[in-house]
């Protein structure tokens, strides 16, 4: 590999890194909404605890029947002896 091609490669890497940083920052700054854009997010179905009864029943069933628990919330104590 001669000097010119290695310089070009270095330049390409620099451009690549720069583009990566720019795109990453752009992506991050694009995340989120302004306060007046929360019309859909404010719907109850968009909250992470919109069906707490179902979630609690399911946690109890799966905790009793499988070896895993928690993740979404605390895994907690309990028996599960059945």
């Amino acid at each position: 590999m001669n000097k010119t091609s290695s310089r070009k490669m270095l330049a390409n890497i620099k451009i690549g890194l720069l583009l990566f940083v720019v795109f990453s920052l752009t992506a991050c700054s694009d995340l989120g909404v302004k306060p007046w854009e929360r019309d859909i997010l404010s719907k109850s179905e968009m909250t992470f605890s919109d069906s707490p009864m179902d979630a609690a029943f399911d946690d109890h069933i799966y905790f009793s029947k499988e070896a895993s628990s928690g993740g979404r919330s605390f895994s907690g104590g309990g028996c599960g002896c059945n």
């Binding site: 909404v33 019309d39 997010l41 719907k43 992470f48 499988e66 928690g70 993740g71 104590g77």
Partner: protein
């Protein structure tokens, strides 16, 4: 001056957007109305084919006070009965078992899954939770829970802090929960490494659990929100299921010589990663979550959960649901153990001397499970919500004892006032 003009235009656009959205979206207007009291009730019927049936009822009440403080309490009562796998392997000979109390015997026919037909339990649990802001962006939540069964008592405390960042688009949370359980079967716990034929009992034992949960919630855009959680849980103390036994099979005949009560390690550390995303499609909504769990017992599991909320109208929706679960076996899981040329008593003594852990509980073996369900929800009147769901749950593993089919049916009614 120019800055002022810009700022005014900015405010006008914001105001116009809010007004337009408010008019265009009645659902938003409804959601904006804060009601002080919220009551949720539900009844669940759970039925396994040829095994356990359960009825579980719950009522939850919450009240919002001034200063955005919310106090809530929940009472759950459930009752279970039926047949439960006792841990023994299927054998070509008929098998006779003694119930955990040592008072009754039951026979399992050759080739059948060994099920203890006398399983019965009632559970009552109560929890109270308080949520309140500490400052404009910081919220604290704390609570306590208590549950009692015929043979089990659990008490727990929890607390978590959340803080909003980035115009409330990012929320970080950290929480801790501690639980202390007492296992106290009516007739005592089986002595460690004892045989079913011994029927030797010991007194109650305890288990302590500490859970830490770190969370990040991020609004992605107007339609999408994500949540990431990392959890670590440590439990120490009595981890056994006192009703589960392990078949000791004769090398020579293939028949069971006796049954050893299971012995699990006395500590367990679990790590979990959880990711959930909700994406609104303007009318419908997709909810997907993945959980990865790993523990020092050698169990690794993956859970995939997918829901599609099909909003039929402003007041009704249908929600199909699919869940898939897969786990690897614990290091000490064995379907049955060989007598290695020893008598059952000698083998039990050897296990005790070496501190060998062994369990034949199929729930610690390789397992696949699938849930398929459908939920229907409707707003009958303003702030009254009726829901019902029917789900089918199916398990399979590396032996017939893990084959299980269950039906889940639930009706719920909630109101705000």
């Amino acid at each position: 001056m120019q800055l002022d003009k810009k700022s005014n235009v900015y405010n006008l656009i914001a105001l116009a957007s809010c007004s337009l959205l408010g008019v265009a979206n009645p659902a938003l207007a409804a959601d904006d109305i804060t009601e002080d009291w919220k009551v949720d009730t539900a009844v669940l019927y759970y039925n396994e084919t040829d095994r356990v049936s359960a009825v579980e009822s719950a009522v939850s009440i919450s009240k919002e006070f001034s200063g955005d403080k919310i106090l809530s309490g929940k009472l759950t009562i459930d009752s279970l009965s039926g047949s439960s796998h006792n841990g023994a392997s299927i054998n070509e000979n008929a098998q006779t078992f003694t119930s955990p109390s040592g008072e009754e015997q039951y026979v399992v026919e050759a080739g059948d899954v060994p099920l203890d037909p006398n399983f019965e339990d009632d559970r009552t649990s109560f929890n109270v939770q308080m949520s309140q802001p500490l400052s404009r962006l910081v919220n604290v939540e704390y609570g306590a829970a208590y549950s009692t069964e015929l043979d089990y008592t659990s008490m727990s405390l929890n607390a978590s802090l959340t803080r909003d960042f980035n115009q409330r688009n990012t929320t970080l949370s950290a929480g801790i929960a501690v639980a202390q359980d007492e296992i106290n079967p009516h007739d005592g716990l089986p002595e460690l490494y004892s045989l079913m034929s011994d029927n030797t009992k010991t007194s109650a034992d305890t288990k302590n659990t500490v859970d830490l949960l770190l969370g990040l919630t991020q609004v992605i855009n107007r339609n999408t929100i994500m949540q990431f959680n990392y959890g670590i849980g440590s439990s120490t103390g009595y981890q056994n299921d006192p009703y589960k036994i392990v078949s000791i099979i004769s090398d020579a005949t293939g028949a069971p010589l006796d049954y050893l009560f299971e012995s699990r390690p006395d500590s367990r550390i679990k790590h979990s990663l959880y990711w959930q995303t909700k994406h609104h499609l303007e009318r419908d909504m997709v909810d997907v979550s993945v959980r990865l769990m790993s523990d020092d017992w050698g169990i690794n599991s993956q859970t995939l959960d997918l829901r599609y909320r099909w909003n039929l109208s402003e007041t009704q929706y249908l929600e199909p649901h699919v869940r898939y679960y897969n786990q690897s076996a614990a290091d000490f899981y064995q379907y049955e153990v060989s007598n290695e040329g020893l008598s059952a008593v000698q083998l039990a003594a050897q296990y005790q001397r070496d501190g060998t852990d062994v369990s034949a509980d199929y729930r610690l073996g390789e397992l696949n499970a699938t849930t398929v369900g459908l939920k229907w929800g409707a707003s009958l009147f303003k702030n009254h919500q009726l829901t019902t769901r029917l789900e089918l749950y199916q398990q399979s593993g590396n032996s017939d004892v893990a084959d299980l089919d269950a039906m889940i049916f639930q009706v719920g009614y909630g109101l705000k006032f």
